[in-house]
């Protein structure tokens, strides 16, 4: 029966009907037995309540039979036979031909289904190894990168330096404006919101220490890395994923070129160079934003701000941020390339892997940040 279609005049004479005549133990099939005229529930209701030893299913009056109709007639016959009702089916010659063919195929399918059911119950424990497949893939991927990297160190010219500069341009220069704007705004916001706290204790000049540590060491490396993960990491995943679907990765392999060497290493290198450069600039711009608010709200002159930064904010804050950003860049590049290679010939898969790439990258960044915080504290820098 048609679903969800209203305002349509259905031809009632065509609707598939089955009527039980108890006198001569016969089920009469009438109307058109096609998918748009069959009511599944009606058939089920009649068949399941039937308990007589023999029955004839008379389909000679059927107007039209299609494969769906034949399927339901087959089901009726099978179900009656299963209920120990001896069933005889009468159909026109043409309908009988179609029915025979459908019925033959359905019997094959039913047998097969029983076999697979048995197979499924015996083979449940095989699937365990596939649970760890992603972890194994990740380790393999990291290993391949290490091998490719060691080869590249031996012969640096074999690397596609054009691709490195392209990544550097895309991740670094094209993202420069938005990263600097973001950090500038965060610098001003932090200073603006903390300024009243400092004035309360008359400790106006400590805004410089506060900005120095928070911006240079924590905020700008984190924000820059998250921005790169969202901008560049996702685009790398989508790019490699599309290449994989269009068999470009396979084409590279058939030419005897390692896809890791050709596709992954330049991107890793480009991002690893771009991230600390952006982070350094972002930290400085963030401090500038803070300086403007310090000048406006706390009356600290720009000259004093600079000299106080030089004397009281340790350079280690800045270098810590840069060191961290290198690690962040590495993790973004690894994760996004890995997710790109995990795409499996399916347009849906690109979307899934791109999302996964961004989420995993950001998780990795925050995790690494915590690790670095502990390391730096233990080292006392």
């Amino acid at each position: 029966m048609y679903k969800n279609i209203v305002n349509h005049e259905f031809d009632n004479a065509n609707i598939a009907k089955l009527t039980l005549d108890k006198k001569d133990n016969t089920i009469y099939l009438n109307g058109a037995w096609s998918w748009d005229n069959i009511d599944e529930n009606e058939i089920q209701n009649l068949i399941s309540t039937l308990h007589i030893p023999t029955i004839t299913v008379n389909g000679l009056e059927i107007k039209k039979l299609d494969t769906t109709g034949a399927y339901f007639i087959h089901k009726i016959v099978m179900q009656l036979t299963a209920n120990n009702v001896a069933t005889q089916l009468n159909l026109n010659t043409d309908d009988q031909k179609l029915f025979n063919r459908v019925s033959k195929n359905l019997i094959v399918l039913e047998k097969l289904q029983e076999q697979t059911k048995q197979y499924n119950t015996t083979s449940n424990n095989i699937k365990l190894s596939t649970q760890f497949a992603p972890a194994i893939n990740l380790i393999t991927f990291l290993g391949q990168i290490c091998i490719s990297f060691s080869k590249t160190i031996k012969s640096p010219l074999s690397l596609d330096w054009k691709e490195v500069s392209r990544t550097l341009f895309n991740a670094g220069f094209k993202g420069l404006f938005v990263v600097l704007l973001l950090n500038f705004l965060i610098g001003t916001t932090l200073a603006y919101e903390m300024a009243p706290q400092f004035t309360q204790y008359g400790a106006n000049i400590y805004i410089i220490n506060f900005l120095g540590i928070s911006m240079l060491k924590e905020v700008s490396p984190l924000l820059t890395a998250i921005m790169i993960a969202g901008r560049t990491g996702s685009s790398i995943t989508a790019e490699i994923g599309t290449m994989k679907i269009q068999e470009e990765v396979d084409a590279i392999k058939t030419m005897g070129i390692s896809p890791i060497q050709r596709l992954v290493l330049p991107k890793v290198l480009g991002i690893v160079i771009a991230t600390p450069l952006l982070t350094g600039l972002a930290g400085i711009v963030g401090m500038m934003g803070g300086a403007i608010i310090a000048n406006r709200n706390l009356g600290i002159t720009y000259n004093f701000f600079i000299t106080r930064t030089q004397t009281n904010v340790s350079i280690y804050n800045f270098t810590d941020g840069l060191i961290k950003s290198v690690a962040f860049g590495l993790s973004i590049a690894f994760v996004s390339c890995f997710c790109g290679f995990m795409v499996q010939g399916n347009s849906n898969s690109i979307g899934i892997q791109t999302t996964r790439s961004v989420v995993l990258s950001i998780l990795m960044i925050v995790f690494l940040d915590a690790v670095f915080a502990i390391i730096f504290l233990q080292l006392g820098i």
Partner: protein, 273 residues
């Protein structure tokens, strides 16, 4: 020309004009197709075969003219209209590259139209979809795989199964045997012919495969000069000497080999399959 006194045409195209950016694809094209047979549309590349089929399916709007399927006007219809939906469930189209949904498995692809149109239970729909796939001869182990994991011949079978999912009266096949090896193409040809007979289908096929034309086509429609130049049986079309291009099509270097082969098979009265 083919004349049918008693039958009503299942597809009727009247005075069809199509113009894309100043290029005329169809000029005053008229065509009547009759039910329960295999009709092949041929013509040079770019002569508007696919456009004609797309217009009949309502995927493309003609510049002017009328198209009827089973006496119902199909041009200028709205897909949101339930009547249009019912009409479209009576025709099926198999696209050249299958156009299977890559995010769904093979069986889900076939279940998709059935779920959309009927309110059968999930199990029933699953079993009907299995039946359709089985009818097209796809191996059972491929049912739960994804389209991208299948070979070209298998994809065509899945596409055919999805086209047949709602037992349409008319199906359009856009180059069903393109990109298939000779054996798969033969199998698919046989399958189409067999299904056409069993399900009393009208099959409208676009193909460049001469072997398919000789093997399974009942009628031939030759498009040229923006209109239908010839509509006749395959045998008559092959022996036509008036239209130069069509004559070359069947009697040129490629055409002649297939023609001789099929005529010799027929005179010997054996089935070459």
């Amino acid at each position: 020309m083919i004349s049918h006194d008693k039958l009503k045409p299942i597809i009727e195209v009247k005075n069809l004009n199509t113009c894309f950016d100043g290029v005329w694809v169809h000029k005053n094209l008229n065509l009547k197709l009759y039910p329960n047979r295999i009709i092949t549309i041929i013509g040079a590349s770019g002569c508007g075969k696919t456009t004609l089929v797309r217009e009949i399916m309502g995927l493309e709007q003609p510049t002017s003219g009328e198209i009827y399927i089973a006496n119902e006007k199909i041009s200028n219809f709205n897909i949101e209209d339930p009547e249009a939906k019912i009409r479209l469930s009576k025709v099926g189209m198999m696209f050249q590259h299958g156009a299977l949904f890559s995010s769904l498995s093979v069986i889900e692809n076939v279940m998709f139209p059935i779920t959309e149109y009927t309110n059968f239970s999930k199990q029933t729909i699953y079993e009907i979809a299995q039946l359709k796939l089985k009818l097209t001869g796809l191996p059972e182990n491929a049912y739960n795989r994804y389209p991208q994991e299948l070979s070209g011949g298998m994809l065509k079978r899945v596409a055919l199964a999805r086209t047949l999912a709602l037992d349409p009266q008319v199906i359009f096949l856009d180059e069903p045997t393109s990109g298939l090896d000779a054996n798969s193409a033969n199998d698919l040809d046989e399958l189409i012919q067999e299904l056409q007979k069993q399900l009393s289908l009208t099959v409208v096929m676009i193909t460049h495969d001469l072997s398919s034309i000789w093997d399974i086509s009942d009628e031939l429609v030759y498009l040229g000069e923006q209109r239908v130049l010839l509509h006749d049986t395959v045998y008559n079309a092959a022996n036509n000497t008036k239209i130069k291009e069509l004559h070359e099509y069947f009697n040129g270097k490629r055409g002649n080999i297939t023609k001789q082969f099929h005529i010799s098979q027929k005179t010997r009265g054996t089935n070459h399959d």
